[in-house]
Structure formats: structure tokens, C-alpha cells
């Protein structure tokens, strides 16, 4: 009992320096929106060495354009070069890394030590961040990478808040942590299910998400679950830490990373928007910080799966996995992007991203949490012809909005017949 007072924390530590909000960008358009909605940095994939071989991925020219765009907002661009290289991948590595440096990329995110070392040798202006694929869990390993010259480590998703704080207490290095999005249920990099099932190399971007398939678990040669909703799976709920940002900030996390280079434009903008507001609200008034319900509402409109807090507060159990059919959390779909707004006539020009029509309820939102709902009124095409619906992908339509909007604001429609 006597030691109790001693072990009690010395009161909460509020950090003054704002952590970075790091967002995924699967292509140039997503990069622009991620930055516009408040990301301090974005990470993208190039044509090689990245773990999302199915994503659009950037050419060097697109990277340069992305870097220029981000710079207008003071934001940085990182490139994921996070494969575990095979012998054949080593050819061309130096040229590729030099080219990233020339493109103005701020950092690479690398897992394979030879990519780490090569980048530091041939492209010294590139920062090298150690990828979560290395599954780094302890402070001594972090210390090793610091001594190798890395300014930042992305820890394993299996690290708890307490362990992060211990690591920060031992090593003066930037810590980046995934705080939102889909999760490997395995230790990252320690899964070759795709290789075994489909000959696709998961550690070079070929993952076919076998952990989300359904399996029969045999006990004494009998399957345990008989019905479809009673099968075994490794599939994890998605991570969402917006309700726990103060704990992460106080543990010393320097960069909050959102997963999802394959996610939609709407997803990226919505999630970034919510976290941007939450982080800013915390730093405006750490003591008075409260999670606003509208941030969660917004996140749920973008969510693909049920959400959970991963390993931050302990090892996930039955409640953190998805055994039953998934339900869409919120009845909204992305429907359009505002291109332009005529302040005098109160008419917005909108690029269609999904079918919508007069009478339907839509909501507009933009950076900083601007938000309102209204029914769709008269719809006109660019020639002023009346439309019964915006039915053509990417077509430009004009409609009156009840409040002013700005270019790059977004519009969702309510779905489900209501």
C-alpha cells in the first residue's frame, strides 16, 4: 500500500506540439482531397516496391504534381516502399529511390532493411520511416533503428498505449501509429495465406485477404460450427481511435496514421475531416476536450466495417472480430463533389459521383466540419436543360443550395428508400 502513491502518474502530461495527421492517397485526386480536408501529410504508392499492387499508384510525374499541391498547404508526401524485396526486386532500387528524392517526396516508408539502407545511401534527402511491416514492438529495437539513422518508426499494430509510452520514454524518436482503418489480424508481414491459397505474394502487395474468408474449424475431425454465421474467421473489425485521441497524444504518438490507399475519395475526406477537427479541438483546450457525436456520425458514414480499438487497451477478443454478416453502419452514399459556387445565384455546380434526383435528401459537408442537409431541388445540366436525375458518371449538374458551399465540398445522398 505504501508504494501506491509513488506509482501513481504525476498528473496528465499535455503535449503542446501537435501530432501529424497522416492520410492515405490512392491517387492524385485523393491526395488533393486528403490535404484539403486537413491531412498534414499523405502517403502514396509508386509503381514499384509498394504493398498495394492493385491500387492506382502514382507515376513520378503525378508524385511531383502531388508534392506541389501538398506544398501549398504546407503538407508533405510520403511514399510507401514497404515490400519485402526478393532478389529480382533489387535491380533498379537505387534509381527508383533517387527518382523519389528528385520528385520532392519527404519520406519513404520501408520495411526491408536493404531498402532502408539503400535509401540513406543514395537518396539522403529522403527521410526513411520504418514500416509497421517490421512488427516493431520493443524499445530496444526502436533504439537500434534510431542508431541506424531513422527519424521515425511505425510500430506494430499490436503495441498497447502503455507500451508506446514506454518506448517514447526510452528513445527520442518519432512514433507513427495506425489509428484508423482496416487491420491485418496477423502480425503485419507474418502472413502468407495469400501465397498458399492463390500463389499471390502478400509481402509484395498480392494479399487476397484470406483472413476475412470463412473456415471450418475441425476439433477431433468434426467441424465445430455448422451454420454460415457460425464459421471460424480471423477477420478483424476496423480500427477507430477518435474517442481516445487524448490517450494517444499523452503517450507521445507523433503521427496519427489513417489506413486505406484503396479506400474511396469520400472515405478519405470524411475520416480526415473528423480527425482534423478532433486533434484541433484537443489542442485548443486539452482540459475541456470532449468527443463530439458528429465526428463519430461522420466516421460511421464512411465506415466499411464495425469499429474497435485494436490492441491499444489490450488484446482483442471475441467482440473485436467479425463472425456475422456485416451491416452498413449509416445509410448514406457519396453522390457528388462541388466544383464551383455562384454566390449571387446560390447555385452550385456539382460533379456527379453517384445517381441522385430531385426530392432526394442530400447532405453537404466540407473541411472544418461545415455541414447541412437539404432536399435536391431543380437539377440543370450545363446547358440549362432540366434533368429528371443526375444519372451520368462525372456529369456536371447545377442545383441551388440552401447554404453557401465551396469547391471540393462533398455531397452525400440518403439511401434505403427514405
Amino acid at each position: 500500500m505504501a508504494t501506491q502513491a509513488k506509482t501513481r502518474p504525476q498528473g496528465k502530461r499535455h503535449r503542446l506540439e501537435r501530432p501529424e495527421l497522416l492520410a492515405p492517397a490512392g491517387n492524385l485526386e485523393k491526395l488533393r482531397f486528403a490535404v484539403h480536408y486537413g491531412a498534414d501529410a499523405v502517403y502514396i504508392g509508386g509503381q514499384k516496391y509498394g504493398l498495394r499492387s492493385n491500387a492506382d499508384n502514382f507515376t513520378f510525374e503525378e508524385m511531383e504534381e502531388g508534392v506541389r499541391f501538398a506544398a501549398q498547404y504546407g503538407a508533405k508526401v510520403f511514399v510507401a516502399t514497404n515490400i519485402y524485396a526478393h532478389n529480382e526486386d533489387l535491380d533498379g532500387l537505387e534509381t527508383y529511390l533517387r527518382r523519389l528524392e528528385q520528385a520532392g517526396v519527404a519520406a519513404i516508408i520501408a520495411a526491408d532493411p536493404i531498402i532502408v539502407e539503400t535509401a540513406m545511401r543514395v537518396a539522403p534527402k529522403l527521410e526513411v520511416h520504418l514500416s509497421t511491416q517490421q512488427s516493431t514492438l520493443n524499445w530496444q529495437a526502436v533504439q537500434f533503428w534510431k542508431e541506424e539513422g531513422l527519424p521515425r518508426v511505425v510500430l506494430a499494430r499490436e503495441t498497447s498505449i502503455e507500451e508506446i509510452a514506454e518506448i517514447k520514454a526510452h528513445v527520442d524518436i518519432e512514433i507513427e501509429q495506425f489509428i484508423h482503418g482496416a487491420m491485418c489480424s496477423s502480425y503485419s508481414g507474418r502472413c502468407v495465406l495469400s501465397n498458399h491459397f492463390t500463389d499471390r505474394d502478400s509481402n509484395r502487395g498480392g494479399c487476397c485477404q484470406s483472413c476475412r474468408w470463412k473456415y471450418d474449424l475441425f476439433v477431433e475431425d468434426e467441424p465445430l460450427g455448422q451454420q454460415e454465421q457460425d464459421k471460424f474467421t480471423m477477420g478483424s473489425k476496423d480500427l477507430c481511435m477518435i474517442e481516445h485521441l487524448p490517450a494517444l497524444i499523452e503517450a507521445g504518438v507523433d503521427s496519427f496514421k489513417i489506413e486505406g490507399r484503396m479506400k474511396s475519395l469520400h472515405y478519405v475526406a470524411t475520416v480526415v475531416n473528423a480527425y482534423r477537427q478532433a486533434i484541433d479541438a484537443y489542442f485548443e483546450d486539452p482540459q475541456g476536450y470532449r468527443v463530439k457525436p458528429e465526428w463519430l456520425d461522420e466516421i460511421n458514414k464512411a465506415a466499411n466495417r464495425p469499429l474497435n480499438s485494436g490492441f491499444f487497451f489490450g488484446t482483442p477478443g471475441a467482440g473485436e472480430h467479425i463472425y456475422e454478416p456485416e451491416e452498413k453502419a449509416a445509410p448514406y452514399d457519396f453522390a457528388g463533389v462541388v466544383l464551383d459556387y455562384d454566390e449571387v445565384a446560390c447555385i452550385a455546380t456539382i460533379q456527379q459521383r453517384n445517381h441522385f434526383k430531385p426530392g432526394q435528401e442530400v447532405e453537404f459537408f466540407g473541411p472544418g466540419g461545415t455541414f447541412f442537409r437539404q432536399p435536391v431541388g431543380e437539377l440543370l445540366d450545363e446547358e440549362g436543360q432540366q434533368l429528371d436525375a443526375a444519372r451520368h458518371p462525372l456529369q456536371h449538374v447545377r442545383m441551388r443550395t440552401e447554404q453557401p458551399v465551396k469547391a471540393m465540398d462533398m455531397m452525400r445522398k440518403r439511401i434505403g428508400g427514405r
Binding site: Y84, L137, N195, L217
Partner: protein, 318 residues
């Protein structure tokens, strides 16, 4: 056409679940063993703490056999804090090398036991010669090749890396490792949903396996231990038939992983590879694959598990 001198004596490396199995496999022809305990080692059939490892070292060294301590688990802060003492302990036990995956182990091994050889084993992520040499420049003497490499990649790894190369030639391989207790969670879910009992014994001795409905012939062993949940391959690698290619390539160590196999099976396997390696080394030019060696293994093979070449002759896509 061998490029080697007569001095080429590749190692036959095995695992052992107990001191008794260790002795039996030494008799069958193993040159070295990798041993460890669940706290620090990854997926081994037995548990050898430093005390037991000392016994194993005495027994093995008397017969010219080497013992490698596996300290290749994923290491959290708590394990890292006790690492210096643990490594000093296994060094005092008399082991010949330390097998590491986490850089923390490399650093501590160099500090606590600089005389010991260091084997880099990062499971499915030890995939190229340049990264092997990265660890070589920091003290590693051997690379344990990922099981997902093919023959061409393995031979190039050996040609281009300065390190010794260890290749698993027989047994099952791990294909998925989670920190989560996925079997217990599933049992818990079923109980909450009213489908079954909450209790499920999940250890490696329970013989649990998964079947994916579109691959009804393939049984993937699954178990939990202190390190989380492990899913293993549905087939057993068996490279006896192409061993000459690996021998020709100068691979330094051939590993037989005895995890989830019986002692009798492991003994037969070690004996078969011993015979093949000795035959090759005696006269590389005259070496021919002996089908009867494979028959000896087949006789003890679980009919539910195929013997396969693993990824040895595959081209993977991504």
C-alpha cells in the same frame, strides 16, 4: 560438375521436443539442433529453458553436435527488458549460436555473448541476399531463408550473400501468426451466440485444423500458445528429390522442422536426409536420388497431408 572441394559438409539441422528425441535424432544423423522455450522462441516442438539447454549442450557436444538457441520470437518491452539476462543464460548453457529475428536480440547477443554465431531468421520476411548481408554487416553469420523462396532465388541467395544459408527441406511451415487468441475468441463468440461451449482446448497437441470450403482436401493445423495463434501449412515440404540441386548450390544447412510430427516420423526423415547428404558428399558426380528413401518417409506420412515441394518450383505473382 561439382564446384565444391571435398571439404563441403553441409549441416543437417533438426528440432527436438525432448532430450530423448534429441538423442534419437543424433543417432539418426542430425548435426545440429535449434532449441528454445516459448517465451523467446518461435514455434518449436519442445521447451528448453537455459538449464535444459545446458543438458542438451553437454549431450550434443560430446557427440560433435551443435545446439542453437532460438531467440527469434516477436519481442515486446517486457521480453526486451529481460533479454540481457536470458541471453547470458543461454550463452552459459554452452550454445553454439543464437537465432534472432528482432534487432534487440542482435544487439543484446553482441553485448552479452560476442563469441556466439548469430543466425538471422525473420521467417517469411528473409527474402533476399542484400538484406541478409545487411544483417551480416551487423554481425549475423547465417541467414535462414524464407520458405516462400523458390529454387532459383535460394541458389542466388547462396551465390550472392556472404552468409551461410539455411534452408528448410522438410516439415510444415507457418503461414499465419497473430498475437490474437483467435481460437479462444471463436469459442467465446459461439458461446455468446448460443452455438456451443465457451471452453476449447487450443494447444498444439489438440490436433485442431482449419478447412477452407473450396479446398476440402487441405487441412491447415491451427493452435494457440503464449505467442498467439499459429496457422500451419496443409502440406509438408519434402525436398529430398531435389536435394542435389541445393547441395550443388552449396547450401550450408538443411533444416528438418519436426513441429507437430511424431518422434518416429522425425527419426525416419532425419535418417533419409542423412543418407542422401552422405551419398552426395561421398561422390557428387555419381549421386542419384534414391526413391526408396522417400518411400521410407511416405510409409509414415499422415495420409491427410501431402508431401510437396512448397514454393520451390513456383513463380508467385503480386
Amino acid at each position: 560438375m561439382s564446384t565444391h572441394t571435398g571439404a563441403y559438409r553441409p549441416e543437417l539441422l533438426a528440432t527436438a521436443g525432448s532430450l530423448a528425441e534429441l538423442e534419437r535424432l543424433i543417432d539418426a544423423g542430425a548435426d545440429a539442433f535449434v532449441l528454445g522455450e516459448p517465451r523467446y522462441a518461435m514455434r518449436l516442438p519442445g521447451a528448453f529453458d537455459p538449464q535444459a539447454m545446458a543438458d542438451a549442450c553437454r549431450l550434443a557436444h560430446a557427440r560433435g553436435v551443435r545446439i542453437y538457441a532460438a531467440v527469434n520470437n516477436l519481442i515486446d518491452n517486457k521480453a526486451a527488458d529481460a533479454l540481457d539476462a536470458y541471453i547470458s543464460g543461454v550463452a552459459r548453457a554452452g550454445v553454439d549460436a543464437i537465432v534472432f529475428g528482432d534487432p534487440a536480440v542482435l544487439v543484446q547477443a553482441k553485448a552479452q555473448a560476442p563469441q556466439l554465431a548469430l543466425h538471422w531468421s525473420a521467417e517469411m520476411t528473409s527474402t533476399n541476399y542484400a538484406t541478409a548481408d545487411f544483417w551480416g554487416r551487423r554481425g549475423a553469420t547465417r541467414v535462414v531463408a524464407a520458405r516462400e523462396l523458390n529454387m532459383e532465388e535460394l541458389l542466388e541467395l547462396k551465390r550472392k550473400s556472404a552468409l551461410q544459408v539455411e534452408v528448410q527441406v522438410h516439415g510444415m511451415t507457418n503461414i499465419y501468426h497473430s498475437k490474437r487468441s483467435l481460437l479462444s475468441s471463436y469459442a467465446d463468440y459461439r458461446s455468446r451466440a448460443g452455438h456451443g461451449a465457451a471452453q476449447l482446448e487450443t494447444g498444439s497437441e489438440r490436433g485442431l485444423y482449419l478447412i477452407e470450403p473450396e479446398r476440402p482436401e487441405e487441412r491447415f493445423p491451427i493452435y494457440e500458445d503464449a505467442g498467439g495463434t499459429h496457422i500451419m501449412s496443409a502440406d509438408d515440404i519434402c525436398l529430398l528429390e531435389c536435394l542435389d540441386e541445393l547441395l550443388e548450390g552449396g547450401i550450408d544447412s538443411f533444416k528438418i522442422d519436426g513441429l507437430l510430427h511424431s518422434e518416429a516420423y522425425n527419426e525416419a526423415v532425419v535418417r533419409a536426409y542423412r543418407t542422401a547428404i552422405d551419398a552426395y558428399c561421398a561422390d557428387p558426380a555419381a549421386y542419384r536420388f534414391d526413391e526408396s528413401l522417400l518411400d521410407g518417409i511416405r510409409a509414415l506420412q499422415d495420409p491427410g497431408r501431402e508431401l510437396s515441394f512448397g514454393f520451390m518450383f513456383k513463380e508467385q505473382v503480386y
